[in-house]
């Protein structure tokens, strides 16, 4: 009976990182992916953070399919007719080894997975893992797939199967995710000639711009919208909590179209050809929603473990970090001749706790609830800010002192003083 040192379920960034590190260390690895290729089921904005990939493939820039490196970040608050916010653009982002890139996931994942194969792992696509196989003591000893009923054996199984995490659920090692702990995002790919993108966004060569927006465009639901520049396309999308969609009965595509028609967005995408419409969940429960991450013969990495920092829009990097850390744990135990027991695999949890991954998620552990209970951040505030800015900038003969008073009054009547102070305190607390 053939037995692998490790089986990795899934070939997204977490699974590819894990499988790559394991194979590079000389372990026998089987990676199983349900899509036609790695990437064919995957959706992202998508911003890639270089540092996490550099730790695994230091010279990835030489061959990975990258779209643009980001030199400008716009954070917008939208009401129905305006946007106000901040822009940060810096020539320092035009560095030799840029820090953030836009990518197209179907292409990027395919490339990453080719590196996994080169490293020596056996990759099997078009195969869905149905459940974990266990021995009489309950230890995980392998997997079952939809190909046949037989068990494929391994010392350890790494679950990198993404946000839906069905394998773990159906094997009884974790619960179903909650509608409050996931956002549903929809996204379109808008194609435009390279020069048009460069003119519209005031960039050259491979420079790129990202826009993150929140406000009335989510129709009172908690969520954000985005527009990212790729080489010859724009990624345009919007996402809100699943529980909010359920309770309001809002259609995600109606919301996406509202965003596309917004007067600040429409001119940027005008004349583009849409070539794809996608939807995907994002785990947003944060620290408190993280399931049990290891047990006898198994580990969980990436979205499957709720590793997303929604505040900073980081997910793929945490997927790579957790995939790498899980793999390094397995490699180290193997080298020490230790077995893959729950006690030994606890080293993975310890490594996570000591890293920025858990530290960041802990920092924002209360944020999901606070945002959940305080819709004014996407409803009242965008309107108030827009009115204030409009009053301030319009030159109409009104004395400036009166303008200040008007602005102050609008804020007070919109949210009342106690509300305003309370909101500031809540945000400050959530930030700590």
């Amino acid at each position: 009976m053939e037995k692998f040192d490790a089986i990795v379920v899934g070939a997204g960034p977490s699974g590819n990182s894990a499988a790559y590190v394991l194979a590079k260390a000389g372990l026998s690895v089987l990676q199983v992916e349900r899509g036609e290729t790695s990437g064919s089921k995957n959706v992202q904005g998508a911003i890639l953070y270089a540092t996490s990939l550099e730790k695994i493939i230091p010279d990835f820039r030489e061959e990975a399919p990258l779209e643009r490196h980001i030199v400008e970040q716009r954070l917008w608050m939208l009401d129905d007719r305006s946007h106000c916010g901040t822009h940060y653009r810096s020539d320092t982002f035009n560095e030799e080894r840029p820090n953030r890139y836009t990518i197209v996931r179907a292409q990027f994942d395919k490339w990453f997975n080719s590196k996994v194969r080169e490293a020596g792992a056996l990759v099997v696509c078009e195969t869905t893992v149905t459940e974990l196989a266990r021995d009489e003591k309950g230890k995980v000893v392998g997997i079952k797939t939809d190909r046949d009923d037989s068990v494929i054996h391994a010392d350890v199984v790494i679950l990198a199967d993404g946000v839906n995490s069905l394998v773990g659920q159906r094997s009884g090692i974790r619960d179903e995710i909650k509608p409050e702990h996931a956002a549903l995002a929809v996204k379109e790919m808008h194609f435009l000639p390279r020069e048009v993108i460069e003119q519209r966004f005031n960039v050259k060569d491979n420079e790129g711009v990202v826009i993150e927006a929140l406000g009335t465009v989510t129709m009172g639901l908690m969520g954000t919208a985005f527009l990212y520049t790729n080489g010859e396309s724009l990624s345009v999308g919007i996402g809100c909590l699943v529980s909010d969609f359920r309770d309001s009965g809002t259609s995600p595509y109606v919301m996406l179209d509202k965003f596309k028609k917004h007067p600040s967005i429409a001119p940027l995408i005008e004349g583009s050809e849409v070539k794809e419409y996608a939807a995907h969940l994002i785990p947003e429960g944060g620290y408190k929603a993280i399931p049990k991450l290891h047990g006898d013969g198994w580990l969980i990495v990436g979205d499957s473990g709720q590793f997303v920092n929604s505040m900073h829009r980081e997910g793929s990097n945490l997927a790579m970090e957790t995939g790498r850390m899980a793999a390094e744990t397995v490699v180290a135990l193997k080298a020490e001749g230790k077995s893959m027991t729950e006690a030994n695999l606890a080293r993975y949890r310890k490594t996570l706790e000591d890293s920025f991954v858990m530290k960041d998620l802990k920092k924002y552990k209360n944020l999901p609830e606070i945002l959940h209970e305080n819709r004014q951040f996407v409803t009242t505030y965008p309107n108030l800010l827009s009115k204030a800015a409009e009053t301030w900038f319009r030159v109409d003969g009104m004395p400036k002192l009166d303008k200040e008073k008007t602005i102050f009054r609008t804020f007070r009547s919109g949210r009342r003083l106690r509300g305003l102070i309370g909101d500031a305190v809540k945000i400050a607390r959530a930030w700590r």
Binding site: R105, A279, L281
Partner: protein, 92 residues
């Protein structure tokens, strides 16, 4: 814009005769199941004249939203399409 027009640009490999999502009829649909008629991003759910809800998962984007929403009601049987079938993202 209709959601069908959006799906038109997508690439699928439909597993004829093997729908991966099915509704387990339990009398009147729950509010959770009903919400899918508007919430499913691919418009796979529809309400019939008699008030029942039906699903046609050919255009499914495999997001999992319907499964998460109906997890507590037991009205949905949800699986991934067989390996290789279903949505094939060109860009993602």
């Amino acid at each position: 814009m209709k959601v069908e027009e959006k799906l038109y640009n997508n690439r699928y490999m439909v597993d004829e005769g093997h729908p991966h999502i099915a509704i387990v009829a339990k009398g009147a649909p729950s509010p959770a199941l009903k919400s899918l008629v508007t919430v499913c991003p691919a418009g796979c759910y529809a309400e019939e004249e008699d008030g029942s809800v039906v699903v046609t998962p050919d255009g499914c984007l495999e997001c999992g939203t319907c499964r998460v929403i109906c997890a507590g009601t037991g009205e949905l049987q949800w699986d991934y399409p067989r390996g290789g079938y279903g949505i094939l993202f060109k860009f993602g």
